[in-house]
Symmetry: D2
């Protein structure tokens, strides 16, 4: 257990074991982003949805949003920028929000049915933002592809149902907040 | 009075007389914007304040924000874009907000003392936004100059007191909403 | 035209003629409210929908929300309270929001198709709020009945389509903002 | 270390040791509330500030807001209600917000100077709400007293400076959001 006393050079990252253990103890803080292409009036023309190999269901392909933990010592803005770069690549040129107030706060519980959202790994709480991006998006890591959808396409029930952990709810909330026809 | 029955080719604009009359009848809807320079994390580095010859006090120089009426038939986004261009010029490259929800709703009454805000001409209600701009700002019309201030400079009580109609309140609210130290 | 020069004792109210004329000149400011019954945790259990004889279509029964003009000289909070009392009666005991920031800004244009919302009489802009009410609601005036619906019932497409002027959009936005499953 | 493998009957609560360890690993999620007395129009008349023996500075009396952790498995609304009851007693009759969106997100870092807010024990992220209370407030636990202040009194620089961890910033943000004169 000496590692607990010696300061970690990169304390935000945790070993698999430490993360697993921490997940049994406290809600884990996430940031999530709905990437968007907006017109000159700020209105959403397209939202981006990631197609990826799910971390939770071996071999299955699911749709999801930009999402990741806030690390120890990391600001919310830095976490948002880092996770957008992780999922959309370094040339996405995101326009981070001026205010730290999210359009919604998403609560994921490990048992299904408590809230619309569900994460079998943990109790997670996510601050969720719409983030316009103006550059080229090249998904990295385990994300296979980014699909741009019009609000109308994004609201198709079959697409919404495909979103991992119930995140179709977040996509609808994002569009409702933006004033798009929902 | 026949002009009232013939449709106006540009119905948003009103004659001096019709505007004057309308101001005695209903609250007039405005949009206002706090122009901002933001860093890569979305945080405000500078806010823009206009120095202008006031329409209400002959010869006096006052500070103000981007502000203008929503015309009949005009959308809020179009009104915001038009008034930003009117006050900051055509090369300001504003990033309009994704959501139509303002950070505050400002109420101006013709009699001072009813609210922090005051407009001797009329009862006005303004939807107020922070709008990051990335281009060159060249104030036009009656605006003489745009000054960029750090949040700390903008919060100087003497500067806030200079803002026309009590708009120092709006500047403080904008910075509070953005998470800047107020 | 002398009435324009003599101050009106109740200047907020306009003659039919003056209101008609004003509607051709400027967007008219409204407040709207989604009445709600909430549980001890603040979560919406039911939303209230009014059944009324429409002002715009003779004899037809439509569903709508609490809605009314902001009068000249009237604050938004006073307008909200007055219109809730007008539509729900004096014993509704509404809990007005602490912040004047609406959950959405609704734009109604006289021509259909410009926005999801439509008002044949005028260009109107409404600040829309969710207002919990704790007392007895007894619709007055032209409202025939108030129906309480669970979020699930309120989201039925056939019900949403019944809401006057496209206000099904506002009901969905209200529920999205509240975190209800949409 | 066997306790880590056996499920805890009340997993939200952690031993001193486990909490200490967790605080070195991830940001800890909090909810905070500014208690308020509001008038019939929803406007803040008074905000409540707690006087308490600080957990971090032996013997010193500090001012603070309602604040507490979100426990593992606990919803944000339940955490807010529990912490309000912990700090204000069981007869405060809080009116929890309809939306889970906070008026600000507060970031506390263990090293001073990174953000306006500071918590020597940990990296904490708080969702902050204004919560009207209508009943009797009887502070329990380590809170000695609740003081009700008008917005004007609350904005006194000497009072704001007394608030623990830089929370004077949160009080100003709360009042800015409510539309009070700041």
């Amino acid at each position: 257990m000496s590692s607990l006393r010696t300061p970690d050079p990169n304390p935000g990252w945790l070993s698999e074991y430490a993360l697993e253990e921490t997940r049994t103890r406290v809600p884990i803080l996430y940031v999530e982003a709905v990437p968007a292409r907006v017109d000159g009036n700020g209105q959403i023309e397209h939202v981006g949805v990631l197609l990826r190999g799910s971390a939770t269901t071996a071999g299955q392909i699911t749709r999801t949003l930009v999402s990741g933990r806030v690390l120890h010592g990391e600001s919310i803005r830095d976490a948002l920028l880092r996770n957008i770069e992780k999922d959309l690549g370094p040339a996405a040129f995101p326009r981070l929000p001026v205010s730290p107030v999210p359009f919604t706060v998403a609560e994921y519980f490990p048992l299904p049915g408590i809230s619309p959202l569900h994460d079998p790994r943990q109790h997670a709480v996510a601050l969720v933002y719409v983030v316009p991006v103006t550059g080229e998006c090249n998904p990295r890591q385990d994300a296979l592809e980014l699909t741009w959808l019009t609000p109308k396409e994004a609201l198709e029930p079959s697409l919404l149902a495909d979103l991992e952990g119930g995140r179709g709810q977040l996509l609808k909330q994002a569009l409702a907040w933006s004033g798009a026809l929902i």
